[in-house]
Symmetry: C2
Amino acid sequence: MYKKIEREDINYFINVVGNVNVSSDPEKLDIYSHDEVSGDKYKYLPELVVFSKNKEQISQIMKYCSENKIPITPRSAGTGLSGGAVPVMGGIVLSTEKMNKIVEFDEETLTITVEPGVIPDDIQKVVSEKGLLYAGDPCSSDASFIGGNVAENAGGNKVIKYGATGNSVMALEAVLPDGSIEWFGGKLVKDVTGYDLVSLIVGSEGTLCIVTKIILKLIPLSKYIVDLLVPFKTIEKAIEFVPKMIIESRIIPTSIEFMDNSSLVLTEKFLNSTLPYSQAGAHLIIELEGNDKETLADEYEKIGKYCIQNGALEVFVADNKTTRNRIWKARKSIAEAISSLYKDFCMEDVVVPINKIPELMSEVKIISQKNDLDCINFGHAGDGNIHVTFLNHSRSRKEWENIIDITLRELYEKTFSLGGTLSGEHGIGLKRRPYLPIVMSKEKIKIMKGIKKVFDPEGILNPGKIF
Amino acid sequence: MYKKIEREDINYFINVVGNVNVSSDPEKLDIYSHDEVSGDKYKYLPELVVFSKNKEQISQIMKYCSENKIPITPRSAGTGLSGGAVPVMGGIVLSTEKMNKIVEFDEETLTITVEPGVIPDDIQKVVSEKGLLYAGDPCSSDASFIGGNVAENAGGNKVIKYGATGNSVMALEAVLPDGSIEWFGGKLVKDVTGYDLVSLIVGSEGTLCIVTKIILKLIPLSKYIVDLLVPFKTIEKAIEFVPKMIIESRIIPTSIEFMDNSSLVLTEKFLNSTLPYSQAGAHLIIELEGNDKETLADEYEKIGKYCIQNGALEVFVADNKTTRNRIWKARKSIAEAISSLYKDFCMEDVVVPINKIPELMSEVKIISQKNDLDCINFGHAGDGNIHVTFLNHSRSRKEWENIIDITLRELYEKTFSLGGTLSGEHGIGLKRRPYLPIVMSKEKIKIMKGIKKVFDPEGILNPGKIF
């Protein structure tokens, strides 16, 4: 069992980080009791919120908590969607929001070193001025922290071309539960010196260590970027087109995003602006980039033609920043639109092989009709990751939670039978923990628990998550 | 301690794989007592060689060996350069060379599923016919097995653009030491459902499990490929140019390979053919690719001009298969040339941040002069991975081993001080095991040993490697 925090503990933390960085104020505790996942079910009050300024402070806190068996739940921006930053077992929420410095922009190695509290868009701003790109691009890039992106191995809109967050992570500085501070990896393009602990820590949802510095790989920024906004009459037509396009055109775009009509209507309502063909069954956003204007034009004309041949109603070409931003604003605001317009919703993160997306979508339709649930769908069609989202209009909280549990089990079983899994980019956290055994064998869960114990023998770090 | 293999054990293995797949013939044992690493120091006779045909056989063997504490050293093609496949503790060498089927080429998900005994070039042949590319390209692509490539996270010639082997691995089927058979990952572009065990297994040098199937990601094959062969007067000029080119041109080529004069002379002697400017201090091979001929031409002209401005003696453009193959044949044959022309040599695999290559090279010069050692240098300059290779002309075996030990410590300490590490693509294995603490903290080694114990509590799988 865990130790409840007492006066002496609070004094210790104050001693380490200073009075102003320790709070037990009920309002503060409430703010840090949840992330963006919907539902009181995923709300737990911490006993204390502690703000760290540097790795040395985290080291002292971790050592103390290990010795006293006090749970620590690390927290970035709290924009997570899995309850990963929720202090299920109480104890302290350790916020890294004050560790928000860009430590070093090293053009000579094409890397940037940042603290966990830096916002991805701020990284982009700095490096793009030098013609470079940080390839991570979560929809929350203007609000989430890079530390959280690393913890969840956030995906986003450029995964098909550049991979998820982890693909850009070259090295991590982290504090282990025993208080020791270690660097994992380096400014190295490749490294097979022992096990790949960097990739193990990326996506471990703050259960193995607390990351205090991140070295990110940078790549050359393409000179020209074009977005195609492609409405289709039906969601089926749009979805069937995605794998077909990738496979037959043999072009890997930077993005292939997807919004069904309900998603578009919601985000238009939320933003109070419209996109062409609002009534279309679904829209695709296809982003292409290159350093040669003509080649890029050839590419998007080829794909545009291909869209029309496959039932697109129209192909809108956005080659200037303003239009491109308008399109992406719509796509990136869907999650926010949902959470602002619905008290209860359940946003999923299932991922399947790209050729199984159409089948997944028709299964989703069957499941939501069967359970009489409103369902909207959007997401990263190019990598098979669809944010199936169920909305609660009129059910009582209790009815809602019951039907969602049944629905999720059906959705996950179907997803698994299609060769897919629970989470492509949001993580298991607290929300999907009960469902992990649907897609994962006892043996594998045992291995993960074993690894967790190697890093965190006392089990103080983000307890109650993943498994 | 481990159990010596007795008659009853042999009978068990015969029972599982059949008489023809179990051998204790001294000649066979000798063949399987070493890989391509130089020196009797890395030669250990197995008690038995067992050839498996499928995962079920491996499962029975692993279970039996765990229960009886018999060491298993998994082996692919034996082309490794770290002693990773050498049975240090005796026991059985388990060869997967008979598991060499391409299981499925799935164009719809852009994946190919192969057994561990498949040769990378054979994968390439199959997928290139459909306009696809498997991005892994080790210099041993015509001889090594994909299973070994995965075990060492092999790098090769396309790492700067496409990453090492692991970047193309989507999923693995593996047998754990307790005999259980598990799939890790799937045909999924992204997945954050629990810890990233796929990346943990990749590069684990056969110490965690035995991989029985591999699902590889495929990408569109570029229509046009051009190689530039660029001689420089001195090695310094060539090496200084590499990071400068990447950083200033903002073009990431597919390859930037490097051969100093001694390497070139050796490989020319071995192949009995010459490349232009044989007398040059060093040659770079810069490979570029694209789908548009003109764009590609613009790119290589830009880089060519850039080479000349930075002291290149000449820029030879190879845009047809014959010339390109001639160039790559020279580059890819260096290792083989060395091992065929020298009885004793020490081929290293250090990797540093790209901007530190020039400093590394001058340090290498100092170290080899100080220890009176002939040294040749070649490798993957684009990703900071240089195969510093020391040659023994006249020293006795004992003298040679002593001086090499001193030299390696100096080389590794320097490499580490430059932010680099021991191995970029060949692994630690047996050869670099004593030197791991130079670059890795006790804490991190403890974590790795802990992870090893989670997978292999009895310590039967490839014992005596890495740490």
